[in-house]
C-alpha cells in the first residue's frame, strides 16, 4: 500500500489560515488501511481543526467527505457538484490522490493534509516498512523475493557493499543488510544459482530516472 503520516497540526492550521470554509477529503484506499486518511481520520482531523480554530477565535466550517479513491476520475467527479461552494479542499489522500484532485478541480486550491511515505507493508499495527520503489523491472524471482533496489540502501545489484557488518547496514543499525537477507534466503531455498543470473547492469530507464512514468495497456483501452 501507499503509506503516509499526518502533517503536524500547526502546519495544517497555517495552510488553512486564509480560509473559513473548506472540504476535508479522505480516501477509502491505501491511506485508510494505514490509518492516516480514511473516514475516521477525516472525522478526527475535522474535529481537531474546528476546535483549534474556534479556540483561536476564527471558526472554520468543514464539510467532511470520503471518496472511494481519489486517484480515479469517477470518484473525484462526485465532489464536483459542491466543490465550488468551498474556498479550499484539504485532502488526506496520498500525493497521487491530492494531485489528481488538483488536476480535475482547477478552480479550488488543494492542500495536503498528510506527508506521503512509500510503497510498504504493515509489520504490526502502527508500524510500516518499505518494500517497493516501483523501478519497473522486477527481479524478485532471482533474489528470493527480497528487493535489492529497496532493501539495499544503495540499491546495489551484485551483493553487499563493504559497509555491511554482521548483516546490518551501515546506514542505520535498525536496517538489515538487504543483500545479506537475499543471500540467506537464496541459500535457504537452495537457489544460489540465481545469484549468477542477475543482469550485468540494471537499466534504470523504467524507473523514476526517466521522468514521470506512464503505463499504457492497449488491451484495456
Amino acid at each position: 500500500m501507499i503509506t503516509g503520516t499526518p502533517k503536524p497540526i500547526d502546519e495544517v492550521l497555517e495552510m488553512l489560515e486564509p480560509y473559513d470554509n473548506i472540504i476535508l477529503a479522505g480516501c477509502h484506499g491505501c491511506v485508510t488501511v494505514c490509518r492516516v486518511g480514511g473516514e475516521k481520520e477525516v472525522q478526527v482531523l475535522a474535529s481537531t481543526l474546528r476546535l483549534a480554530r474556534e479556540a483561536s477565535g476564527k471558526k472554520i466550517e468543514i464539510r467532511e467527505v470520503s471518496l472511494e479513491r481519489q486517484c480515479d476520475p469517477e470518484y473525484v467527479e462526485q465532489m464536483r457538484p459542491y466543490v465550488e461552494d468551498y474556498q479550499a479542499v484539504l485532502s488526506i489522500a496520498c500525493g497521487a490522490g491530492i494531485q489528481f484532485l488538483a488536476e480535475k478541480i482547477t478552480t479550488t486550491p488543494l492542500l495536503p493534509g498528510i506527508n506521503t511515505g512509500f510503497l510498504g507493508v504493515t509489520e504490526r499495527q502502527g508500524e510500516w516498512t518499505e518494500r517497493c520503489q516501483g523501478c519497473g523491472d522486477c527481479v524478485l524471482h532471482l533474489t528470493g523475493g527480497i528487493c535489492p533496489v529497496t532493501r539495499c540502501a544503495k540499491s546495489l545489484f551484485h551483493g553487499p557493499c563493504g559497509g555491511s557488518v554482521r548483516g546490518i547496514c551501515e546506514v542505520d543499525k535498525e536496517i538489515k543488510c538487504g543483500w545479506q537477507l537475499i543471500i540467506d534466503r537464496l541459500v535457504a531455498l537452495d537457489q544460489m544459482e540465481n545469484y549468477g543470473k542477475l543482469k550485468p547492469y540494471k537499466g534504470w530507464n523504467s524507473a523514476r530516472d526517466g521522468g514521470p512514468r506512464r503505463i499504457i495497456r492497449e488491451d484495456m483501452i
Partner: protein, 113 residues
C-alpha cells in the same frame, strides 16, 4: 452511556469538546477484566491519542482522563467523578467555551443565580 469503552473512538471524544464539554471522563472496566477482551485497552490508547491532540491544539490535555473500575465500585466511581470535576473546575472553562462566552464558570454562575 456505552456498553463498552471499546466503542469509543477519537472522533467521539473530540465531538464532546465540540459540543461544549469542559472535560471528558472515560470510565471503563478494570484492565484484564473486559467482557469484550480488550475494549478498555483500546479505549486507553484512544484517550491517550486525544490527550495528545488536546495538548497540540492548546485546549489542554488534562481535560480528558480515563478511569478503570468495576461495576460494583459505586463509591469509588463517585470519588473519581468528584476528583475529575474538581480538576476541571480548577482548570476553568475550555478555550472553546471561553470563545463562546460560557463554560463551567458560566454554568456555576447560572446555578447560583
Amino acid at each position: 452511556m456505552l456498553p463498552c469503552t471499546g466503542r469509543i473512538d477519537e472522533a467521539l471524544l473530540l465531538k464532546a469538546f465540540e459540543n461544549g464539554a469542559d472535560g471528558v471522563m472515560v470510565v471503563g472496566c478494570l484492565e484484564g477484566d473486559c467482557h469484550y477482551i480488550s475494549g478498555n485497552i483500546r479505549a486507553r490508547a484512544r484517550v491517550k491519542r486525544v490527550y495528545a491532540i488536546l495538548e497540540q491544539i492548546k485546549i489542554g490535555p488534562n481535560r480528558i482522563r480515563m478511569y478503570n473500575l468495576s461495576a460494583g465500585e459505586g463509591s469509588k466511581f463517585a470519588a473519581y467523578a468528584n476528583e475529575f470535576v474538581d480538576q476541571i473546575v480548577e482548570l476553568g472553562p475550555s478555550p472553546i467555551n471561553l470563545a463562546r462566552g460560557g463554560g463551567v464558570q458560566a454554568a456555576k454562575e447560572e446555578e447560583t443565580t
